[in-house]
């Protein structure tokens, strides 16, 4: 089963299995000493957008970085080694979960200050446009980041200079424990704010990977054809806590109703894609089970690998702060 649509499902299954496994190790062993922001439940946004990019396109993200990194083709073993703080990590143990990078596959980097990678993507896309190359850049951020001034500044800047950048807002309704209704005016959307800056924008069901994929294709085509930037507002929901491996929708946590979380879990992007594909692929459930087993083996091997790797040499603590090292 290798159809394009099945591949989208397969990529989501891989990310789900990887992240659930990592969350277990994170909680049980406490050997990954880096704050991790899991995308469990919102895999469709990363997979749908990244699948629409080419290998020449760049992706930048915020702190919720594992899913876009993997969806863009980032090296799994290097990511896991990074979480374990090892020299073999994608940032050699200097970056951690929130500073992943794999330039070889077009993952330009993730960073954790809200909104700060938004203008970086604009600058990167502007550099591409200047060189005449038909390349685009996508930048992932949450609904919380749209409250930062730099979001508005970046929309304006990209719009004025018609920069080929796709702003990807994963609207999961919460900034840590603050609901969007407490932070943004009722009745306004993130799409509205983009359009006010002259940026073409669309709101899409972010738990429907096929809809996300098609919207991302439209957005990227819009950019490549020289029409300027595009914003995708993708409605989705994270199942786990903001940071860390646990669930936090019980009464003890008090910020989101159990019923709300359960309703979103019922709209699981993997379950929904499986249901859609079942008509064409009657044996899809067996295939998903096979993928799960296959990726379960892959992540277990990656964890074993990461654990075996050496930590960075402490004598190299300063290396990389400058080049060349100042006297």
């Amino acid at each position: 089963m290798t159809s394009g649509r099945a591949q989208l499902l397969r990529d989501m299954v891989r990310i789900r299995v990887v992240e659930e496994t990592l969350a277990d190790y994170y909680r049980d062993e406490q050997q990954m000493r880096t704050p991790t922001h899991f995308s469990i439940g919102q895999e469709a946004t990363a997979v749908g957008v990244c699948a629409a990019t080419t290998s020449q396109d760049l992706v930048f993200t915020a702190h919720r970085s594992h899913a876009p990194y993997l969806a863009k083709g980032g090296d799994l073993k290097a990511m896991v080694a990074e979480l374990y703080g090892k020299q073999a990590g994608c940032a050699h143990g200097r970056g951690g979960s929130i500073h992943l990078v794999d330039r070889a596959v077009g993952f330009g980097g993730s960073a954790a200050i809200l909104g700060e990678m938004i203008p970086v993507a604009v600058g990167a896309a502007w550099a591409f446009a200047r060189s005449g190359r038909p390349r685009a850049v996508a930048t992932f951020f949450g609904d919380g980041a749209t409250e930062e001034g730099v979001f508005a500044e970046s929309l304006n800047l990209a719009s004025v200079h018609r920069v080929p950048v796709v702003f990807v807002c994963e609207n999961n309704l919460y900034s840590i424990s603050s609901p969007i209704g407490a932070r943004q005016p009722a009745g306004s959307t993130i799409q509205d704010r983009a359009e006010a800056a002259g940026v073409t924008a669309a709101r899409v069901d972010g738990n429907d990977v096929f809809a996300v994929y098609e919207a991302a294709q439209r957005a990227l085509r819009h950019c490549r054809e020289g029409n300027g930037p595009y914003l995708l507002e993708l409605a989705t929901y994270r199942w786990r806590e903001h940071v860390g491996p646990g669930f936090d929708h019980g009464q003890d946590h008090g910020y989101r109703p159990v019923r709300e979380t359960e309703a979103w879990m019922a709209r699981c992007p993997i379950v929904r894609a499986t249901e859609i594909l079942r008509e064409q692929h009657p044996d899809i459930d067996r295939t998903v089970a096979e993928w799960s087993a296959q990726y379960g083996d892959e992540i277990q091997r990656a964890v074993v690998y990461a654990k075996e790797q050496p930590f960075p040499d402490v004598d190299a603590l300063l290396d990389g702060a400058y080049h060349p090292v100042p006297r």
Binding site: G89, G95, V120, A124, E153, A321, Y322, H323, P326
Partner: protein, 345 residues
């Protein structure tokens, strides 16, 4: 050698570097206007046009982030702030991204050599938020280079180094230096960061200074020479990396240290220089260290208050006399470098 003004030297460095390297572009608010950032970007705009000298929206934060992204994709941005006070709006991209990019992505994937020029210093009545010099703020963060050239030759050489190096750089230019003239090499020769210079040889007191205060120290040294006090003036040129050696070698010879700066003393340039001497050569000092810096209040506007606020040659003279055990006496007051300012603002 021919002489240029400080602003002409910056302009020449910019144009020569942009001719040699097509990846360099200038971005800033009004860099393409008739004044051309005190003249420094005017010729670049005339030569290279709006495609490489780019007027940007009033968005310091996004523009600095934009520059980081462009640099990550192989371009060389030169950001210009006509008032360095606005650079506080660009702190996040410069401090959290540009300074850390190379290191936090593993050290082997390249840096983002964003060069930021910030114009600082008093005109008249610029007040609390239009005359600050944030060099120490930026110099605090590993991953950046910070320089504050005092002479036209250094303004050119350090900018050439910034535009050809691999490290993000903040260059602080005191606007009162723009009309000053000096000999400047014709070619685009880089001056390395972290190498200070002896601006004047002396034996009795070391004055370590940066930017405008180098000139104030030289004026003070002339008057002090008439009093029989020989002053050595050390121009550090760059604040990070700091040339610890030239500072310590000078203080080891003179035994006395005055540090002069255009910003505040606490946690600033003068504190850093004092710490370097205290750590490396604590027994060399024959008198306590004296620091000349801004009083602990925001910059005022009213003329007499402003005169009292900014340190200058007179303060350096007084500090040196005190360290050498001489009474202040009846020396004529020295005018500051900025004293001839004719406005309009």
């Amino acid at each position: 050698m021919r002489t240029l003004t400080y602003w002409q030297a910056i302009s020449e460095a910019t144009v020569q570097c942009m001719e040699a390297d097509e990846s360099i572009f200038i971005a800033g608010e009004g860099v393409d206007d008739i004044k051309g950032t005190f003249g420094t970007t005017k010729e670049a705009y005339a030569r290279f046009g709006a495609n490489r000298v780019i007027d940007v929206p009033n968005s310091e934060n996004a523009t600095a982030g934009f520059a980081v992204g462009a640099a990550a994709c192989g371009l060389r941005p030169l950001l210009v702030h006509t008032r360095a006070d606005f650079m506080f709006l660009a702190l996040d991209p410069l401090v959290n991204l540009a300074a850390k990019w190379r290191y936090m992505y593993g050290g082997d994937k390249g840096g983002v050599p964003v060069v930021t020029r910030g114009v600082v210093g008093r005109g008249w009545g610029q007040g609390a938020t239009h005359s600050q010099s944030p060099h120490a703020t930026f110099a605090h963060y590993a991953g950046l280079y910070v320089a504050a050239p005092a002479s036209p030759a250094d303004a050119k050489g350090l900018l050439v180094q910034a535009l050809t190096g691999d490290t993000p750089v903040v260059l602080v230019e005191n606007r009162n230096l723009y009309p000053l003239t000096g000999e400047v090499p014709a070619g685009a020769t880089a001056i390395p960061f972290g190498v200070g210079r002896i601006a004047r040889r002396g034996a009795d007191v070391t004055v370590v200074a940066t930017s405008l205060m180098v000139h104030e120290a030289e004026r003070a040294a002339v008057q002090l020479a008439e009093q029989g006090i020989s002053v050595e003036v050390v121009d550090v040129r760059s604040l990070r990396p700091l040339d610890d050696r030239i500072i310590c070698e000078s203080v080891a010879r003179t035994g006395r240290l005055v540090v002069a700066d255009t910003s505040w003393a606490r946690y600033g340039f003068t504190a850093e220089v004092a710490a370097v001497v205290a750590e490396h050569i604590p027994h060399a000092l024959t008198a306590p260290i004296r620091r000349l810096a801004l009083p602990d209040c925001p910059a005022p506007v009213s003329w007499p208050l402003e005169e009292a606020f900014h340190p200058g040659a007179g303060g350096i003279v007084e500090a040196c006399l005190q360290l050498c055990g001489q009474a202040p006496g009846d020396l004529p007051a020295l005018a500051d470098v900025a004293a001839g300012f004719q406005g309009p603002y």
